[in-house]
C-alpha cells in the first residue's frame, strides 16, 4: 500500500502545484536555515578525540594565596610551571604531558624561501602517544630527548613539504630561530576540532606545524602564546620555575575509574605537601575533567553560533506552522475524495497514513531544497568573518540529517491535518459532492 500512497501523493502534489510549491518553499527555507546553523554547531561541538575523550583528563589545581578565596569557586584555568613539571616528573598517570602554545621563525635552507613564522607547541614526549597523533614518518622524540634538552623536533606534513618538498625528512635538520634541530618525526594531517588540548589559543585554529621538547624550548627561550595570569610580581620572568603564574596546560591519561580516583588522591596528597611547604594556602580544590566535560566547562561553542541556531530553529517552527495551515487547507479541500475512499473501504488509519505519506513527500522535496539552501548558507559562512568560518562544511551525517529533518518536520506538520482529514464524515461528503 505504501507504493500506492506514494503514487497518490505524487498525483496530489501535481494537482495543486502552487500550494505544493508554497509548502516545499516553507519546509525548504526552514530546513535550510536550521541545517546551516546545526551543521556549524555539529562541527563546533563534535568530540575531537572520541576514542579517548573519556580517559584524557585536564588537571586544574589552585596555588593562589588565600586572599580573595571564595568557597566553591573554580581553580585556576592552567598550571604553574613548577606544578606541571613536578607532576609530569612524578608520572603517576598512564601518560602525562605538559604543554604551551608558541610560535617560532623557521629559517629555510632553500635560498628561494624567506624565513616565516609558524604556530608551534612546546611539550613533552608523551603528548603524541596520549593524543593519538598520527605519524607519517618517524615518531615522537624519546624521554631522553626531554631529559637531555635535545635539539629535536616533530614537524607537520605541510611544513615538511614546504621546506623540503617531501615528507621523507626524518634525520634532516631544521633551523628554528637560530638553532638547528634534528627532525625525528613527520605528522600526517592532524587538526583536532576544537583544538581541545589548549583552548587558550584559537580553539578552531589550524593547529601547529612544529613540536619541540619542553625543556629545549625553555633553554632556547622560545616565545610562547596563550593566556598567562600571575598573582604575584616577585619574579621578573613569569616563565621561570617558581613564578606564581598559570600558563601551562597539563593533561593526564587515566584509563579506568580506579586510576582516576587514585590520581585524584595523589593530587590531594600533593596539595597537602604544597600546603606544608608553604606554597599552597587554599583548601583542596582539584578538578580532573575529561575532554567532554572540559569542553562543556569552557563553553567552547561561540555565542553567535548558539544564537544563530536558536533563531534558525525558531524560523523552522514558523515555517512548520505555515505548512500545517497549508496542509490543512489542502487535505480538507479533498474531503469529497476522502469520503469516496472511505465508502470504498479505506479505514481512517489508511486515510491517515495516505495523507501522512503525502506530507512526507513534501518533506523529501523540501529537504532537497533545504539541502541546497544549507550548502549556500554554509558557503556564506565560509566567506564570512567568524573564526570558525573554515569549518562550515556539510559532512555525510549532516547531509542525511538534513533530509531526515525535512521529512520528520513535514510529518510532524502533517499530523494534525492528516488527523483532521481522516475524521471527515464520508456520508456528508458523498451527498454534498
Amino acid at each position: 500500500m505504501i507504493g500506492y500512497y506514494i503514487d497518490l501523493a505524487l498525483r496530489s502534489l501535481k494537482r495543486n502545484l502552487s500550494l505544493t510549491v508554497l509548502m516545499i518553499l516553507a519546509i525548504g527555507f526552514g530546513v535550510g536555515a536550521s541545517m546551516t546553523m546545526l551543521t556549524v554547531m555539529h562541527v563546533l561541538a563534535k568530540d575531537p578525540i572520541p576514542q579517548k575523550s573519556q580517559v584524557l583528563h585536564y588537571v586544574q589545581l589552585d596555588p593562589r594565596p588565600l586572599r580573595g578565596y571564595t568557597p566553591g569557586e573554580e581553580p585556576i584555568e592552567q598550571s604553574t610551571r613548577q606544578d606541571a613539571e613536578t607532576l609530569v616528573r612524578e608520572a603517576r598517570a598512564d601518560h602525562q604531558a605538559l604543554m604551551t602554545g608558541g610560535d617560532a621563525t623557521i629559517v629555510p635552507a632553500k635560498a628561494d624561501l624567506d624565513p616565516f613564522h609558524i604556530d608551534a607547541r612546546w611539550t613533552t614526549n608523551e603528548f603524541f602517544t596520549m593524543f593519538d597523533v598520527p605519524f607519517l614518518k618517524g615518531g615522537p622524540w624519546s624521554p631522553q630527548d626531554d631529559a637531555n634538552h635535545n635539539r629535536v623536533a616533530v614537524i607537520g606534513k605541510e611544513l615538511a613539504e614546504k621546506l623540503f618538498g617531501s615528507t621523507d625528512v626524518v634525520g634532516f635538520t631544521l633551523r628554528v630561530e637560530t638553532t638547528e634541530m634534528r627532525i625525528v618525526g613527520v605528522l600526517d594531517t592532524w587538526h583536532p576540532i576544537p583544538h581541545f588540548y589548549d583552548l587558550a589559543t584559537d580553539p578552531y585554529g589550524q593547529g601547529e606545524q612544529l613540536y619541540v621538547p619542553w625543556t629545549t624550548s625553555r633553554d632556547l627561550e622560545l616565545s610562547r602564546d596563550g593566556n598567562m595570569n600571575c598573582w604575584d610580581s616577585k619574579h621578573d620572568d613569569p616563565t621561570v620555575v617558581g613564578a606564581p603564574c598559570e600558563w601551562i596546560q597539563l593533561w593526564v591519561e587515566l584509563d579506568s575509574d580506579a586510576k582516576l580516583s587514585a590520581y585524584h588522591d595523589f593530587l590531594a596528597g600533593y596539595w597537602e605537601d604544597q600546603v606544608r611547604a608553604g606554597r599552597y594556602e587554599r583548601p583542596v580544590n582539584i578538578r580532573l575533567r575529561n575532554v567532554t566535560d572540559y569542553l562543556d566547562y569552557n563553553k567552547v561553542i561561540p555565542n553567535d553560533a548558539k544564537l544563530g541556531t536558536y533563531v534558525a530553529l525558531g524560523f523552522l517552527i514558523v515555517c512548520l506552522v505555515n505548512t500545517i495551515g497549508l496542509l490543512l487547507t489542502k487535505f480538507l479541500r479533498r474531503s469529497s475524495e476522502i469520503g469516496v475512499r472511505r465508502a470504498l473501504g479505506a479505514s481512517k488509519a489508511s486515510i491517515f497514513l495516505q495523507l501522512l505519506i503525502e506530507s512526507a513527500m513534501i518533506g523529501l522535496v523540501g529537504g532537497l531544497l533545504g539541502l541546497i539552501l544549507a550548502l549556500l548558507g554554509l558557503w556564506g559562512i565560509r566567506h564570512g568573518v567568524s573564526h570558525y568560518a573554515d569549518l562550515a562544511h556539510l559532512d555525510l551525517p549532516m547531509l542525511a540529517a538534513t533530509i531526515a529533518l525535512a521529512i520528520l518536520a513535514s510529518i510532524l506538520a502533517g499530523l494534525l491535518p492528516a488527523w483532521r482529514g481522516c475524521q471527515v464524515a464520508p456520508a456528508l461528503q458523498l451527498k454534498s459532492h
Binding site: R11, R341, R342, A343, L344, G345, S347, A349, A427, L430
Partner: protein, 245 residues
Amino acid sequence: MLHMKDVSKVYRTEMVETHALRDLNLEVRAGEFVAVTGPSGSGKTTFLNIAGMLEELTGGTYTLDGVDVKSLDDKARSKLRNEKIGFVFQSFNLIPDLNLFDNVDVPLRYRRMGRGERHKRIETALERVGLASRKKHFPAELSGGQQQRVAIARAIAGNPTLLLADEPTGNLDSQMAREVMQLLEELNEQGTIVVIVTHDPEIAARAQRNVHIVDGIAADVERGPALVHKDPKDPKSFANAETVA
C-alpha cells in the same frame, strides 16, 4: 443478508435533537432488488448510510451477512464494507484526477489484491459496463451516463453481495437512466442484492419490492399494511410497517 431491528438514528446538536430513523425494521434477502422511497427528509439517505456503514446507528441492531456491525471497530467495518458492499451515488463521486482504470482500482487496492487479479477484475468490470476502451480517459472526458457506468464498474469490481445506490439516475436524462437501471437489473439477475433509494416512481416500479420510509419509519409497501397516521400531532403515531419476516 441485511437485517435491521429497531434501528434508530438521532442527530444531536447543543440545541436540537433530530430523529432521522425511528425503530426501523427491515430485512433484505439474497437476490432481492429493493427500492426505498419516501419524501425528502424522510430518512432514506440516512438508512442507506447506515446500511453502508458510513454512519453509526444510535440504537437497535444491524447485522450484515451475519455480522453485528455495531460491535466492529473502524478497521473491521471498513473491511466489511469493502468486501460486501458496492456504492453507486447520484453524483457519481469519481475521483477526478484518476483515470477510469484507476478509479475502478480504488476499492481493490484497499482489499490488498495482487496486481494481476486487480487488473483482471478492472478489465472485466469496465467491459461489463461497456467502457473498457476508455479506461485511460478521465471522468471529465465522459458524459454523465458514462460516469455513472464507471461508478457501477467500480462498485461491482470487488464482487460485492450488496449494491447500495442512492438516486443513481437522479442526474441523468431518461435514456441514460434507462441504461443504468438496465445494468443494475442485470447485476441483480446475476445474484447481487440491489437496494436503490429513489424518488422516481417509475424506477421504484421496476424493483421487486418497495420500502417506503416516512419520518424515519419503514413500511414494506407490497407486503406490509399501509401506513396509518393515527395522531396527526404525534409523528411517532405512524404505525410501523409489519416487517418482512
